[in-house]
Subunit: 301 residues, 2 copies
């Protein structure tokens, strides 16, 4: 096999996943596998889908050694909840995989679980299982979350359901999450459920890698291009346009909606969520009309 | 909090789990959480439960650096399948968390996935998600499996459903799995489903830590003692009684059944599974009559 002696750090995660998933056989009950925010599975209930998500936070990447363990636990579970939100779903049951150094304090683990509880309790998520592994004395600690959810079939959002001409919106303000928001954000469960129940919204995702990475993914999945006005992107205090596009870890919602519903959406949103901004940043366009071409490499200026 | 400055290696995993789980709030839909082979959840289908499992294999503990990656993947998923079997269930959907060193070869990962496919395909398990994390250059690699399953409510087995006087059986032969069986075993899905459908068996578990550790767990969960004849324990070729009791990683079934059904069970089993032994090793007895007292420390002789 070509490239088989290459190291994973050389080919990167995207190509690795592509290489792996092309040989996997999926059952007919799998509506979406790897490639959307969650896997979507037909359940025994004809009205709803089951959602499945696995996600990890890693020391040195998503948090640092000095991050309070309660914040690590809160972030780890909230990221997975944000993926359930992106499908329009409700989170249900979590299992926790901890990879810890053997000299880790017991109080670190109990505090980490306090953070998990803080993230789970607003949604009545039950933590039903766990597994602790030893990453060795000099290894890198990590927290892996396996989370289930459910969503009404007719309200389930996929990245692939966008249509050319639809308007693109984002919730909240983007950029500079590293100043603290990346550890304390609120997953947009309530907002996503209100959106899908009150408007015909079927293409949505959460912004975890930054709009410049995530918008092209949604457009590509929907076989569309996009046209956005980068000056209109809602920026967190002190964030440049570049930072709002590229920093990542915003955990806000990006979604597409019929342009004729925009005014009604904006008015209803202001009443329902007065303290959270909702911004129309542009629209989906025919494939091949990406403007600006973020995927081709956002120009850092 | 007392003990909070202790290290996790000092208090051990059992006490750590106890410490963590006592503060968790479980929903009313959770029939069993941590403490059984799988978590058992009420589903939208009134006829069945959903099963959830998270489990890891760790380099240096469950396999060694030189173990073929295909065998690592096969073992990782088969262990979780064995836990689904122990509940009488059918495995459905898997998600895979890999923790790898950055200099790991791409071919290692594709081979590991070949092993996962080999384990999943006999049961049509769909691998619907994955996550790869970097355990750092000198870290310990691991594979974490999140697996769902389902089981008919009336056939679901719990560790807690044993009754004093019931006979105890084990499938297969125990001990010396380190000679190779721990990497190549077949999870007892077919056997477990046949057992629960044809006989009234409601207390079952899989033998992963060795009969000397696992039998006391089943008995304790069922509020029973036990009486076994250690000379009757079926031993793998070359295994001593001690090894059959304590080696672990057998991935065979241990279950309890009404003593009046023993003869019918033995005759039917021989016809259905002529190449796999089934052995009556003793019985459940009133609490406080553990004979021999394996939990108090099996005497290594």
């Amino acid at each position: 096999m070509a490239n088989s002696s290459k190291k994973i750090k050389e080919i990167g995660e995207d190509l690795l996943i592509k290489r792996i998933t092309k040989n996997l056989t999926l059952g007919k009950d799998v509506m979406a596998g790897a490639g959307d925010d969650c896997a979507v599975i037909k359940s025994n209930d004809p009205q709803s889908y089951m959602l499945l998500k696995i996600d990890s936070v890693i020391e040195g990447i998503h948090y640092v050694k000095s991050t309070h363990p309660s914040a690590v636990g809160y972030k780890a579970l909230s990221r997975a909840i944000s993926d359930i939100a992106a499908m329009g779903g409700t989170p249900k049951h979590a299992m926790i995989g901890l990879s810890l150094r053997p000299n880790c304090n017991v109080s670190y683990v109990t505090s980490l679980y306090n953070g998990l509880s803080k993230a789970s309790s607003p949604y009545n998520i039950s933590i039903v299982g766990g597994e602790t592994t030893n990453c060795s004395k000099n290894g890198t600690q990590s927290v892996t979350i396996s989370l289930t959810g459910e969503v009404r079939k007719d309200l389930c959002c996929f990245r692939s359901k966008g249509r050319s001409g639809q308007s693109l919106f984002v919730t909240g303000k983007l950029g500079k999450s590293i100043n603290g928001r990346h550890l304390s954000f609120t997953p947009r469960i309530e907002e996503a459920q209100w959106l899908t129940r009150n408007f015909k919204i079927r293409a949505m995702m959460d912004l975890s890698d930054g709009l410049a990475s995530d918008l092209p993914r949604l457009a590509k999945s929907s076989n569309c291009g996009y046209s956005i006005d980068t000056n209109k992107i809602p920026r967190a205090r002190g964030a440049s346009i570049d930072e709002a596009l590229c920093d990542g870890e915003d955990y806000e919602l990006l979604f597409a909606i019929s342009s004729k519903d925009c005014n009604k959406l904006k008015a209803s949103w202001r009443k329902k969520f007065p303290s959270l901004t909702l911004t129309r940043i542009g629209k989906l366009s025919p494939k091949g009309t990406e403007d600006p071409d973020l995927e081709g490499g956002w120009q850092h200026f």
